[in-house]
């Protein structure tokens, strides 16, 4: 493509792209995000190409590989345009039928549609309950874009916001607009982006930097990856606008090396932008010049913190430094630097093209716009969901997420990553925004939402997070390094049944010290999972310490397996499957677990027929002695 040298050039080229395209031309879009790729979407895409070729339809139907749609669990997702018929879990074997029925015959293939609980097929993606309650501003275009094709992005109006900013706004006006929108950083604490931009812009010095934080380190959250992989230009456009507004000539994208596809798509996108004159010297002939460099992170959770990330780019150990020197004044290479995460940057083009007022019209008083959440764990529909700030947890978990798996009961949702907190059922009506989550002892973080069912033990969950944090603490501050480790020791003995009186209070005490005396957000928020779970589930902690009982029947050391003699039908399944031969029993005899041999592997519990449920987990009580008379009392097959 020829280099575009003016704003008019860009518009003219966009019109050319649109004129070349027929919106009515059939197009098979295949999601090729990482989730769908794991389900072999690439094979499906190839199968479509081959089948279209074989049927002589190659020129008449387009095939497009797109980014993530969010419903990754049901992938590979295939959407047929222009009707937008949406098929889930498409396999290579399904391709000939889809081509013959839908593309040629114009009919819907029922069996590959989403099914409602009532068994009805849903034809369009937007009518699927998972999508119906969402407001997809950032994800909206993914369906229409092949991330490796700049034309696709231009066709949906891409780089229009950049043209607007460069052509009709001063940098100050851009900053003012972002400030007015009240866009808050999507990566962690929710600091107002516009304010940070302004400080960086006004800091003394003739060189300054802008950075994209794509070091998404929160386990369980992957929205940044999906945006970056699926629509890299939306992030880059926001980023270039930010460079212009802040007065930077160079920008850095810091992306985890674990996201190879994101790196690949980014490199390709940067090449395309250079070629098109949208990046480099004298962008679109406006006199503004900007370069973008990509840095890969080598895996350190703490390097997601802004000063740590910057020292990582300098080729050093990614450790945080004290906050009194702000990075907006002295950041990367000691120059004023502005860091925002992927999702934050992706919001910028929307704000510039549609205006701050429009943006501020979405969301709550203090949190504007939408937020992408990674809804995962024990929920029926898992994936990425984008909702306006302020939607209640209940609606997210139940209306969008479709409730808890396997008909179990909701217990809690953990938000904000490892240093976030748990939120119990009584708070399900909480409107989710930055401030409300903080109020209840959790946080937004980058938007992870891990749903937990009643099979979850809270001290065990807290222990899990502390293990992670103890491992990731960079070790610079003693309270974080030693304090988190000590807390982990206490929790470990608790779940082993060796909890001591006063342990819960000791945990609370240590938490305060670690919070107060650590340097960076990792240490300061490390106690959150412990404090919030003690706050809402204190009884459960108490039970572990005082009664040596795990109410959720999770902690192995506190749980025993026992066969209920009134329910056992002597089917022998438990005995047959027990890996250590701990179960004895003959035909028509109640089976018995030898407690000394049992390793608590849970196998017998799982294989005991659901109608029988004779294998029982006990905690905090002695295991009853086997009966003298071992004859089976329950009738075989009878509902127990």
């Amino acid at each position: 493509m020829a280099r575009l040298t003016s704003l008019e050039d860009l518009e003219r080229y966009r019109q050319e792209v649109l004129a070349r395209r027929d919106p009515k031309k059939p197009c098979v879009t295949i999601c090729s995000g990482t989730g769908c790729r794991a389900y072999k979407s690439e094979k499906v895409a190839h199968a479509f190409q081959a089948e279209l070729e074989a049927k002589g339809l190659a020129g008449k139907v387009d095939v497009r590989r797109t980014g993530c749609h969010g419903f990754c669990e049901r992938g590979p997702i295939v959407v047929m345009l222009p009707e937008e018929t949406c098929y889930l879990k498409v396999k290579v074997e399904d391709v000939p039928e889809l081509v013959a029925e839908t593309l040629v015959g114009g009919k819907v293939v029922e069996r590959l549609l989403y099914r409602t609980d009532a068994g009805e097929g849903v034809v369009h993606e937007n009518d699927i309950p998972f999508y119906k309650h969402q407001t997809r501003l950032l994800f909206h275009d993914n369906l229409r874009i092949d991330p490796t094709n700049l034309d696709d992005y231009l066709a949906v109006g891409g780089y229009g916001a950049l043209a607007k900013a460069l052509g009709s706004m001063t940098p100050e006006q851009v900053v003012a607009e972002v400030k007015k929108s009240n866009l808050r950083g999507r990566g962690g604490a929710g600091f107002p982006a516009g304010v940070k931009w302004e400080t960086t812009r006004n800091s003394p010095g003739d060189e300054r930097y802008v950075l994209v934080n794509a070091d998404e380190g929160d386990p369980g959250a992957y929205m940044d990856r999906s945006i970056l992989e699926g629509n890299p230009h939306s992030v880059l456009e926001g980023f270039i606008i930010g460079g212009y507004a802040i007065g930077a000539r160079t920008g850095y994208v810091y992306v985890r090396q674990e996201y190879p596809l994101a790196v690949e798509n980014l490199i390709g996108a940067l090449d395309d932008l250079h070629e098109a004159g949208l990046l480099g010297e004298n962008i679109l002939g406006t006199g503004f010049s900007f370069e973008i460099l990509i840095y890969r992170g080598a895996g350190a959770f703490v390097s997601g913190e802004s000063s740590a990330l910057m020292s990582s780019i300098e080729g050093k150990v990614g450790e945080p430094r004290p906050k009194y020197i702000r990075t907006s004044v002295k950041g990367l290479f000691d120059k004023p630097s502005n860091l925002n995460n992927v999702e934050t940057w992706a919001n910028v083009p929307l704000i510039i093209s549609r205006g701050a007022e429009w943006f501020a019209g979405i969301g709550t008083e203090g949190s504007k716009g939408t937020k992408v959440f990674s809804l995962v764990g024990k929920v029926n529909n898992t994936g990425l969901v984008e909702v306006p700030m302020g939607m209640s947890l209940r609606r997210i978990v139940f209306d969008i997420g479709g409730g808890i798996r396997e008909g179990r009961a909701f217990k809690a949702v953990q938000t904000g990553g490892p240093s976030g907190g748990v939120i119990p059922e009584s708070m399900l009506d909480l409107p989710v925004d930055f401030d409300e989550l903080t109020k209840v002892g959790s946080m937004m973080g980058s938007g992870g939402m891990i749903v937990m069912d009643d099979n979850t033990c809270m001290p065990d969950v807290a222990k899990y997070f502390l293990e992670f944090l103890a491992d990731e603490s960079c070790g610079k501050c003693v309270p974080c390094r030693e304090g988190v480790w000590q807390m982990l020791q206490i929790l470990t003995r608790m779940v082993k049944g060796e909890g001591r009186e006063g342990d819960v209070e000791l945990l609370e005490d240590l938490s305060t010290t670690v919070q107060d005396a650590s340097l960076c957000a990792l240490g300061q928020s490390a106690p959150n999972p412990v404090l919030s779970s003690i706050h809402y589930f204190r009884d459960e902690y108490r039970a572990h310490v005082e009664e040596k009982r795990c109410p959720a029947l999770v902690c192995k050391a506190l749980t025993s397996y026992w066969v209920d003699p009134d329910k056992c039908i002597a089917c022998g399944l438990c005995k047959k499957n027990c890996p250590v031969g701990a179960i004895s029993g003959e035909k028509k005899q109640v089976h018995v677990v030898d407690q000394a041999l049992c390793t608590k592997c849970d196998t017998c519990f799982q294989v005991c027929p659901p109608k029988t449920r004779a294998v029982t987990k006990l905690s905090g009580q002695p295991v009853p002695k086997p009966p003298e008379d071992l004859a089976v009392r329950a009738a075989k097959g009878k509902k127990g």
Partner: protein
Amino acid sequence: MPVDHIIDRYDARREALVQILLDVQKELRWLPRNVLKRVSDRLGVTLREIYNVATFYKHFSLVPQGRHQMSVCVGTACHVRGAQKLLDRVSNVVGIQAGGTSKDERFSLHTVNCVGCCALGPVMTVDGEYLSNPTTEELEKVCETCE
């Protein structure tokens, strides 16, 4: 030295240290001492500082790694959906514990915190390919394709 082409790619810039080590790790699957020495000489960074960096980031290994990398995600989303069971299964199939490398250097097995594919949890990767909760049979099949 075989790593010079990597160092040259970054014009031996001091701040490219992490990027250079990433490329070396990718090519050799670990960071041998003589290579680090070379990086130290060319970049003008002390060996001490290089070891500081190499031990700080999770991705680097100072011991030889297997020809095939298996990583089981134990991130939160995978954890609550049975990552431990998957890890046990993989351990059984390849006969090594997490963090280990098989004697014939065929496999290395690691745990990682989130590979960014959480909706499919529990997930693992084999040489960068994602697998969603594979069964023992599926794992055995995958292993067969790994020389």
